[in-house]
């Protein structure tokens, strides 16, 4: 039992409480887990409960709501319920869409208590019979407003809502005064929470941006099913119902579209009138311009810098060039000077030589001899270098007459020899050049194999073949392994060269071919080498083929024609017709012929194709 309060005692805190302490608990049990979970989420069960309680108490306060009398209530026609203002009927005209479900219920209760026919009857009022009493309007109102879907439909077409969109002219003058209430009004249709405010002139760019992006992406819950002209429930059959539904859907969509357009127009108008947008745009423009200017400035500066650098470079180059030229000039002058000095020296020496020779009377006794010697001395003067002239002069001046003569003659002889050697060398080089050019032109890399190939080709395409040399050249190109391309001219030259060769040389070539063949093949089976060669010789030799005379060839061709492919024992018969040839020979020859013809045809075709091109 609690005690009675003494007179004068009041609620008071008289002492502080001890702070909490930390204890170690055992980590077991469901309450420990629950505790951990609560702590992790930073909520406490008890405080949560408290919050809920607070909410409850708030709601209970709301219940003391003020109901407005609706004067026209008693004059309402229940049949025209669709056009009545349900909020007004319930006395909630001042709350409208802001009324909570609880308030609506409370209002309805109050209305029922007041206007129920039974009550009024008891009060002695006259009651209209049936559904025609105005109480039906109240019933209808609660029916609409208590159902969230129906209420939303009614709210959507709230007759008190101002659908007007301010014009541009209005908005331009005092934008915030005009548009602020409009957006406020329209924001009730949003299905999202937290509607951004229009803001003021000082709003930041981000705020304005969020505002407009919200309104441009406006997600409205407004719908127009309340205005449906036909009621689905009235339909008598399914088809009719469907038709009505279709009609309603179409009209609703139409209205919805209009509504969206309305919002869009509103936002567009606002956007175009918004002084802040203008300001931002100007700012942006100014910023861009200044940026551009700065950029241009930077570019210009850079250009200038570059130009300056180039100039400096050019200047440096020019200076260097000038210097170089100067140097070169000086060097040239120097060289010229030196040359002149040398020339002078040579002249002097020559003069000296001549005078010495003259002094010695050209080492000659007779006139004729002296003339000859004079010539020689002149020659020497022409030919000898400065140094040798000097030495010669020295020798001449120091020696006797005889010695001088000998020296001059010696030098002359030496010169002669040198010249001869030079001439010889020149001749030799010329001849060698000739030789090399001759051989190069003749056998531009003709090696053994190719020579053989050429011989074969020449044999294959006898004289009279159409464009014979081209065909041969083609054939060579096709079959050669060296990869060198030959033209008809090359081939003709070589073939003529070969023809010029004596038979001995031909034999040599053939032999070489055989030797090479043997070398190539010997590497493969060294053991059977002894046994095989004779046979091989026969096989590989071109003589076997050559043995076919023209007559034999003719006979063979004839026989081939007389005995067609399907003749039994054809080859025996052919062999019998061709004297001196076995069946084997004939078959071989035939195969060769076939091959030849094929190759010919292929080569000719190629030539034809080439010429066509």
């Amino acid at each position: 039992m609690l005690k009675e309060a003494v007179e004068g005692q009041v609620t008071v805190v008289c002492n502080a409480i001890a702070a909490s302490v930390q204890f170690q608990v055992e980590p077991v049990g469901r309450w420990f887990e629950a505790f951990l979970k609560r702590r992790d989420r930073n909520v406490s069960a008890s405080f949560q409960e408290l919050e809920e309680e607070e909410e409850l108490s708030e709601e209970s306060e709301d219940e003391e709501l003020q109901l407005e009398e609706y004067g026209m209530l008693k004059t309402l026609d229940p049949k025209d319920w669709k056009n009545q203002d349900h909020y007004a009927v319930l006395g909630l005209a001042h709350m409208r869409y802001k009324a909570t479900q609880k308030q609506i219920k409370a209002a309805h209760k109050a209305m029922v208590l007041k206007h129920h026919p039974d009550k009024r009857k008891a009060a002695g009022e006259q009651i209209v019979e049936g559904d025609n009493d105005y109480f039906t309007c109240i019933t209808k109102a609660i029916e609409i407003l208590s159902d969230p879907v129906k209420r939303r439909a009614f709210d959507s077409v709230d007759p008190t809502f101002d659908n007007a969109v301010p014009s541009k002219a209005e908005g331009k003058e005092n934008f915030f005064e005009v548009f602020s209430p409009v957006f406020e009004r329209n924001s009730r249709w949003t299905s999202k929470k937290h509607v951004p405010k229009l803001g003021t002139m000082d709003s930041t760019f981000e705020e304005v941006d969020t505002f407009y992006s919200f309104w441009y992406n406006f997600d409205s819950w407004r719908e127009f099913s309340y205005l449906d002209e036909e009621e689905k429930e009235k339909a008598e059959c399914r088809d009719e119902r469907r038709w009505i539904e279709k009609q309603n859907r179409a009209s609703r969509a139409q209205r919805k579209k209009e509504e969206m357009n309305r919002i869009r127009t509103l936002v567009d108008t606002a956007y175009s009138c918004d002084p802040r947008i203008k300001k931002f745009k100007e700012d942006e423009k100014a910023r861009k311009e200044s940026e551009k200017k700065a950029k241009a400035e930077a570019k210009r500066r850079e250009q200038e810098e570059k130009e300056r650098a180039r100039q400096a470079e050019l200047e440096a180059a020019r200076l260097a060039k000038e210097k170089e030229e100067e140097e070169a000039k000086q060097a040239a002058q120097q060289a010229k000077k030196e040359k002149e000095i040398q020339k002078k020296a040579i002249k002097k020496e020559r003069q000296k030589l001549r005078t010495t020779c003259k002094n010695w009377n050209y080492f000659a006794d007779s006139e004729a001899e002296s003339v000859k010697m004079m010539e020689e001395v002149e020659k020497l003067c022409d030919r000898l270098e400065l140094v040798s002239l000097q030495s010669l002069n020295e020798m001449l001046s120091s020696g006797t007459k005889e010695e001088g003569k000998a020296a001059v003659q010696q030098v002359n002889a030496q010169l002669q020899k040198e010249r001869e050697a030079e001439v010889q060398a020149r001749q030799a080089s010329r001849s060698s050049e000739q030789a090399s050019s001759g051989s190069g032109g003749g056998s531009k890399g003709w090696n053994e194999e190719e020579l053989q190939l050429l011989i074969k080709a020449v044999n294959l395409f006898p004289a009279g073949t159409n464009a014979r040399w081209e065909v041969i050249a083609n054939y060579m190109n096709l079959h050669s392994t060296s990869g060198i391309k030959r033209n008809a001219k090359d081939v003709i030259n070589k073939a003529k060269n070969l023809q010029k060769l004596d038979p001995h040389q031909k034999d040599e070539i053939n032999k070489k071919a055989f030797e090479k063949f043997k070398k190539e093949h010997a590497a493969v089976p060294p053991t059977v080498d002894n046994a095989v060669p004779s046979e091989r010789f026969e096989v590989s030799g071109a003589e076997a083929n050559a043995a076919w005379t023209t007559e034999e060839q003719k006979l063979l061709e004839q026989a081939l024609k007389t005995f067609p492919v399907n003749t039994p024992e054809r080859w025996e018969k052919i062999a019998a017709v061709v004297p001196g040839r076995t069946k084997k020979d004939c078959m071989k020859r035939y195969k060769e012929l076939v091959e030849m013809v094929k190759a010919k045809k292929a080569a000719q075709e190629q030539v034809a194709a080439k010429s066509k091109k």
Partner: protein, 508 residues
């Protein structure tokens, strides 16, 4: 989904499965619900359980018992040294860590205690799996309260080595409380519980506070010198004396004979917990002579009376230590195999005359059952990992009391908000005031530290202008305390809805 709780004791191990909302101990392959924590090494195999225990007679040197004693301890640890002295299996010092030396014929194998524990855990896992018929890894494992970090880690490693995924290590006494669901019904109220655990080799007495469904260890006492083995030993000594009396042979010097006697005494001891007398029979105990002896329960109790007294002693000491009287204890939980002994139960009952002894679950199964229940709670949690600071919680430091008058008009204090309540918390009470009064005063006090008597007044709440009526005034008092300890009290008179609130700040 199922989870298991494993109790790995000094002498025995036991496993319980939590499935379909209930926890149950499962029997091993030998049909026993408790498996001796004995591991025997043979030439080619390791044996765990009863077979190893019975084979110890012949294979004492290669049989490891009571491995928990040195698990996670260094070689120089006094506990480890004690184990060393008792162990028949040679223990060597390797890098300051104790290692068993197992003789495998020609080679000597060095085995760490963790490996031995791993084998035991593996056996428990097998047992659980064969009972469930499916693989199971999630387990809660119990550890003694006095286990240090090293030992816990060693145990955890051994369990993980055996393939368990350890959900949590929990203390044995709290597992015992959980097994009986103490404080789990509602998260309010405060009570004290005594956990009495008498195992094979150790005695542990713990006083716990249960507050708002959470457990807190107030004090604990562990004595490794008392245990079921001591009773068996005493009985075996008696049997040896009997044998000497009848056959004139002293078997106490013969280890194998003693071991046989021990096994026989063990069985007799178990029997005596349920029956009045038991027959001890050992074939060719010594020199081909059979031994047969009848032991009555009274005889056994007489033999062990000093041991029993010693077992009960710590309870009183502990209660004194925490400043509680035996009447403050609301429940006593018995666990450990030796807590089955009727004489002991009776002695404890005598200590707590008004308290119910909780022994409906077999005492040696209490702890694994609690562990399994915890495993069931933790099962399906995204993270059961626990960091150190999450087990320290802010708690109310002092009792919050209200002064009332009893029928005779004397002052009484009623606890509105007990100390030790995890914060934040809210408690609601309905207080009554005489209906004749028009004003009521509630005086709030807080208790002094360590002593409840001299109270300190914290605040007073006055409700004025009440309408006097026939019946009592109902005053709903909501006491809320935040984490820092600040207090908010709201009083509401039910009849008139008049209310007063007061907030008491924390002393800086």
């Amino acid at each position: 989904m199922a989870a298991i709780g494993v109790h790995f004791g000094y002498t025995c191990a036991c496993v319980a499965i939590f499935k379909d909302g209930r926890a149950d101990v499962v029997a091993n392959d030998a049909g026993d619900r408790v498996t001796p924590a004995v591991v025997a090494y043979r030439d080619t195999e390791q044996i765990v359980g009863i077979a190893a225990k019975q084979g110890r007679i012949r294979n004492a040197a290669n049989t490891v018992v009571k491995v928990k004693q040195i698990l996670g301890r260094s070689f120089d640890d006094p506990e480890a040294q004690k184990h060393l002295a008792e162990s028949k299996c040679p223990v060597i010092n390797k890098d300051k860590k104790p290692r068993y030396e197992i003789d495998m014929g020609d080679v000597t194998k060095i085995v760490s205690p963790e490996e031995v524990a791993k084998l035991v855990f593996h056996k428990m896992k097998e047992t659980a799996q064969s009972a469930l018929g499916s693989d199971i890894t999630d387990a809660v494992i119990t550890v003694p309260f006095e286990f240090g970090e090293m030992q816990k880690n060693a145990l955890r490693q051994a369990a993980e080595g055996a393939g368990f995924s350890v959900l949590r290590l929990i203390h044995e006494p709290s597992a015992a409380l959980l097994a009986y669901g103490i404080g789990q019904d509602s998260p309010t109220g405060k009570s004290h519980v005594l956990v009495y655990k008498l195992g094979g080799t150790s005695l542990t007495v713990t006083v716990m506070e249960v507050n708002s469904g959470m457990y807190r260890v107030l004090a604990t006492h562990t004595d490794h010198s008392i245990g079921g083995d001591g009773f068996t030993q005493a009985l075996a000594q008696y049997l040896a004396a009997e044998f000497k009396k009848s056959y004139k042979h002293d078997v106490t010097g013969n280890p194998r004979a003693m071991m046989k006697l021990m096994n026989s005494a063990d069985v007799a001891k178990h029997t005596l917990s349920t029956l009045g007398s038991s027959n001890c029979f050992v074939d060719s105990l010594y020199d081909g002579m059979d031994f047969d002896c009848n032991v009555s329960r009274a005889r056994f109790e007489l033999l062990c009376s000093s041991l029993f007294n010693k077992s009960i002693q710590p309870i009183k000491a502990l209660l004194e230590q925490v400043g509680l009287s035996s009447s403050d204890i609301s429940k006593v939980v018995l666990c450990g195999g030796s807590a089955r002994i009727p004489k002991l139960q009776q002695m404890i009952q005598d200590l707590f005359p008004d308290v119910e002894l909780l022994s409906s679950i077999p005492p040696d199964e209490v702890i694994p059952v609690g562990a399994a229940i915890e495993a069931g709670i933790l099962l399906g949690r995204e993270s059961s990992a626990l960091d150190q600071d999450s087990i320290t919680v802010d708690c109310c430091a002092r009792d919050i009391l209200v002064k009332e008058a009893d029928d005779s008009g004397a002052d009484v204090y009623t606890v509105l908000f007990p100390s030790g309540t995890p914060l934040p918390a809210r408690r609601q009470h309905t207080l009554h005031g005489p209906g004749s009064l028009s004003s009521i005063c509630m005086e709030l006090y807080q208790s002094q530290a360590h002593n409840n008597t001299p109270q300190e007044k914290v605040a007073q709440i006055v409700l004025n202008n009440l309408e006097p009526k026939e019946e009592n005034h109902d005053i709903v008092t909501v006491v809320t305390m935040k984490r820092d300890g600040s207090l908010h009290v709201t009083c509401t008179e039910q009849g008139s809805g008049k209310s007063e609130a007061v907030t008491v700040a924390v002393a800086s």
